[in-house]
């Protein structure tokens, strides 16, 4: 993130609230990469992630007047981004089922000597599992928060995370007892 924005965050937000295009552009520049990164880690394609980036900042521009400065600015932007990314994966209605992944695991069991790198393994997860892994393990959301954003239960989020880690462990060729 752009530290110069963070140093002047209050001024930039105050100006952005009046619709000042330069201030809004500053917000975009400051959070463009983390928002895109979050979206790209969750969405299947770069195009989807770019759309999420645009949707997020359109919403930021529209709603900056409602930002109460109770939490961090990044926390507020990130919640919008996460919600837009989850909406995108719901809307796409990809065949985000376990069939594909079980099939893939079956193949993997035959060639477990072949290690994947973490990026590739993450990419192989279903969008829902990847979203849970990213939001929980990297962004630090709780299972309750993820469940609320996804319209599911915390148990759903927990079991998605456990299954995702079990798969990552196999795909990464990590030896163990489980």
């Amino acid at each position: 993130m752009d530290s110069s924005l963070l140093a002047n965050a209050q001024t930039v937000v105050a100006r952005a609230r009046t619709g000042d295009p330069e201030a809004l552009a500053s917000l975009y520049r400051a959070f463009e990469v983390p928002v895109y990164n979050l979206a790209r880690r969750i969405c299947r394609t770069a195009e989807d992630a770019e759309d999420v980036l645009q949707e997020t900042f359109f919403e930021v521009c529209r709603s900056i007047g409602r930002y109460r400065e109770e939490g961090s600015l990044w926390g507020w932007v990130r919640t919008i981004a996460a919600s837009k990314a989850l909406m995108r994966i719901r809307r796409n209605k990809y065949r985000d089922t376990d069939e594909l992944h079980d099939e893939f695991v079956g193949q993997r069991q035959e060639d477990t000597h072949l290690r994947m790198d973490l990026e590739a393994a993450l990419e192989r997860l279903s969008e829902t599992s990847r979203a849970v892994v990213w939001l929980h393990d990297v962004e630090g959301y709780t299972h309750e928060e993820i469940a609320s954003m996804m319209g599911k239960t915390p148990s759903f989020s927990k079991s998605q995370l456990a299954r995702a880690h079990a798969r990552l462990r196999v795909w990464l060729g990590e030896e163990g007892t489980l």
């Binding site: 645009q54 521009c61 993450l122 892994v133 990213w134 990297v138 456990a162």
Partner: protein
Amino acid sequence: MTHLSMEALLGLREPGLEPGAATAREHLNQCPLCQAELDRLHQRVARLKALPPLRPGRDRWPETAARYKAERRRRRSRMAVLTGLATAASLAVVVGIGRMTQPASPTGEELHQTMERSQALENALSAYNPEGRVLDGRTARMAQELEDRIARVDRELEATELLPQEPPQDQLLQLWRERVGLLDALVDVHVTRASNAGL
């Protein structure tokens, strides 16, 4: 010996006390294999956090800003209709009283007409749907410049609405005239471009 499941290992990382956490911890303390598995889990999460950030392939700000500006303009247009109605209503009262006492100021009526003209141009632009069309570079630059200037006028209009006292009508009239002039030019840019391209 039954080792800890992935769910149980993940539960140990949660801040609160997960169901069965005490038993799981007890097993963990005695089981080097599960300790190693938990270490691997911690390392995997650390590696996930350390992945380099991915960057967008292209700049999406111009599109986002244009979309936001267009939405503001539409919002302004809707507000103008409401303000226009209110102005018309107050004008009717003023004219009614004016007929009884003295000639009405032409400014109020002209303001109302200018707002109506602005609305008509907005409708024309909306029907033309410029956002859904591809523009050549020169037209896009001209349209963008006009959009920026309209946005500036809109901000000034919004600022006058936030004033504690009623803004002078001639000041409002001047801003609305400027807005109509810019919208006229914007319609012209789009329509001329469309007719030149035979669209």
